[in-house]
């Protein structure tokens, strides 16, 4: 594999390999929390932060504990445990020292534990043999890409409130159709660079 510049990975993770539009990861919170722009932006920021931190933690655990001990097959379970523990720690910290942020994000923080985009990024980083800097670029980019997707969807859904949609398609139905159309639009970026 050609050694990719971390910045290229960063931009590719936002546009050409967006977690939502090319991997369909983190869909549940993407659909559930995309009704309003401010809340989806809040969740997007929280996801980006958690994603970056857990990717760093998981990179260190994988390369300095699991690989040397020949335990790399345990990465799934170990990554899940570390993500859950980190989110819990983060929640305690934000609640104590950043109460305003806690009240803005508090509800979304526990949700992030089960956001599969977070686990997905940690696993992709291993599968694609990224080094430390590439992993960081990939995680920040993925977080921003996920945020971009949910905020864009929230914007469209806010406009849709005034539209007359067939009864059976209201809510998640039309959201999935829009996601499909957005994914089609993002295919337009795919010629620029590929990272997988």
């Amino acid at each position: 594999m050609i050694e990719l510049n971390p910045f290229i990975i960063f931009f590719a993770a936002i546009f050409t390999n967006n977690m939502i539009f090319s991997n369909f990861l983190g869909m549940c919170s993407y659909i559930a929390v995309s009704r309003e722009i401010p809340t989806s932006l809040g969740l997007g920021q929280a996801v980006t932060f958690v994603l970056t931190c857990t990717t760093i933690i998981n990179y260190l655990i994988y390369h300095y504990a699991l690989l040397p001990l020949g335990l790399d097959y345990l990465r799934f379970i170990v990554f899940i445990i570390s993500i859950a523990a980190f989110v819990q720690l983060l929640e305690m910290f934000v609640e104590r020292y950043l109460p305003n942020l806690y009240y803005a994000l508090g509800i979304f923080l526990p949700l992030i534990t089960v956001n599969c985009a977070i686990l997905g990024v940690s696993l992709f980083m291993i599968i694609r043999n990224y080094n430390f800097l590439q992993s960081i670029g990939f995680s920040i980019g993925s977080g921003i890409g996920w945020t971009l997707a949910i905020v864009a969807l929230a914007g469209i859904r806010q406009k849709l409130k005034k539209a007359s949609i067939p009864k059976g398609l209201e809510g998640p139905g039309i959201t999935l159709i829009i996601t499909g159309l957005m994914a089609l639009a993002f295919i337009g970026f795919s010629g620029i660079v590929q990272i997988q």
Binding site: S82, Q88, Y103
Partner: protein
């Protein structure tokens, strides 16, 4: 074999490290120290901060009704937080009306005690206690309803008003991995302070009803707390009483009738009991006897799905048909209803059409 041992040890080790870190964080970051809690501008408590208001109050032996055990899904544990509760969380909003929001009402299970806090709760809640009662009687009333009679421990008494309810705790059992509380109206007389009687209908998959119907035995100990509720009989009004119930809704009505008998309350009373078929009726003989024992009481069972095979000679159709037939005027009357949401809505409408003022129609609604 070695791989299994190494895997187990590694996972245990890694989990232990994270558990240690979380415990450490809980002791340091999550430690809010001692916090002052003031209730009703009257009672002051010093409590350990960091827990939810609901569990903090339970630690102080103050019981707030909560069917889901603090998961923010039942919306029962409402209290007024006047100071120190922080902003209302998105998890609470679906359970609060605009009026309640303006009135500083919060869900106590979602609101954390992190700073000096001042709350307001109904005085009656100080009366609420926890009991470990023994199952004295557990018998089938119909194919889906059981009568549960509990005896309180020696020397303990419960003080309640006819119509109020208690909460019964469903413990962990095979097929149920969480402890939950469910509310049941008391069917025994308020004068019998050593016993609690409940009627529990079986709900397929229901955690508490499955516990009572499939696991509980005579002699077992159950955990209850109460009494709760603002649906209770008005002793003093002197008005004629219209009682309406369906299914297990019979419980509070029975408590009211027993109370009327014990206290020798000489008021005219009519009890409309709605059911589908004769098999759904129970305690019929008991109510017939009450007709002789009470001052002026009539029991009017009404069946909605009878066929000729049932040989039913009583009232048929829905309860409002019987009300239409027997309730001729609304003068000096009040009504107590207990049943499901739909039945209550229909009955309130029917009674109001008859001219009974809304404020004299009291109801206890269940899902």
């Amino acid at each position: 074999m070695n791989e299994i041992i190494i895997t187990t040890i590694s996972i245990t080790g890694i989990s232990a490290i994270f558990a240690f870190l979380l415990t450490l964080a809980d002791r340091t970051i999550g430690n809010y120290g001692e916090i002052e809690l003031n209730i009703n501008d009257d009672k002051d408590y010093t409590v350990q901060g960091g827990s939810s208001l609901l569990s903090t109050l339970i630690d102080e032996k103050i019981f707030i009704p909560s069917a889901c055990g603090g998961k923010g899904t039942c919306g029962y544990c409402k209290v007024k937080v006047l100071e120190g509760g922080g902003p209302v969380l998105p998890t609470e909003i679906p359970f609060l009306t605009q009026e309640e929001l303006d009135d500083h009402v919060r869900l106590s299970c979602q609101c954390k005690v992190k700073e000096k806090i001042k709350i307001q709760i109904p005085e009656e809640l100080f009366n609420v206690k926890e009991y470990f009662a023994t199952v004295e009687v557990l018998e089938d009333m119909t194919s889906v309803i059981k009568r549960l009679r509990l005896k309180l421990p020696e020397g303990e008494e419960i003080k309640f008003k006819p119509g109020q309810f208690i909460q019964l705790k469903a413990p962990l059992y095979e097929g149920n991995d969480e402890e939950v509380y469910r509310a049941y109206s008391i069917a025994s007389a308020a004068e019998d302070k050593n016993h609690i009687e409940l009627f529990i209908g079986y709900v397929p998959g229901g955690k508490c009803t499955t516990y009572v119907h499939k696991h509980l035995k005579v002699g077992d100990t159950v955990q209850i707390n109460g009494p709760y509720g603002d649906f209770y009989f008005d002793d003093e009004s002197g008005r004629e009483v219209i009682l309406v119930a369906a299914g297990t809704g019979i419980a509070p009505i029975l408590s009211i009738l027993k109370h009327m008998r014990e206290k020798k309350i000489n008021r005219k009373a009519r009890f409309y009991f709605g059911a589908k078929t004769p098999e759904d009726l129970f305690l019929v003989e008991y109510f017939k006897e009450l007709e002789n024992e009470l001052y002026d009481f009539k029991f009017i069972p009404t069946l909605s799905r009878v066929t000729e095979e049932h040989n039913w000679t009583g009232e048929t159709g829905r309860v409002n048909n019987a009300i239409d037939k027997y309730l001729t005027d609304s003068e000096n009357k009040e009504s107590y209803l207990c049943g499901n949401e739909k039945m209550i809505a229909t009955m309130v409408e029917a009674l109001m059409e008859k001219g009974i003022p809304e404020e004299l129609i009291y109801f206890d609604k269940f899902d």
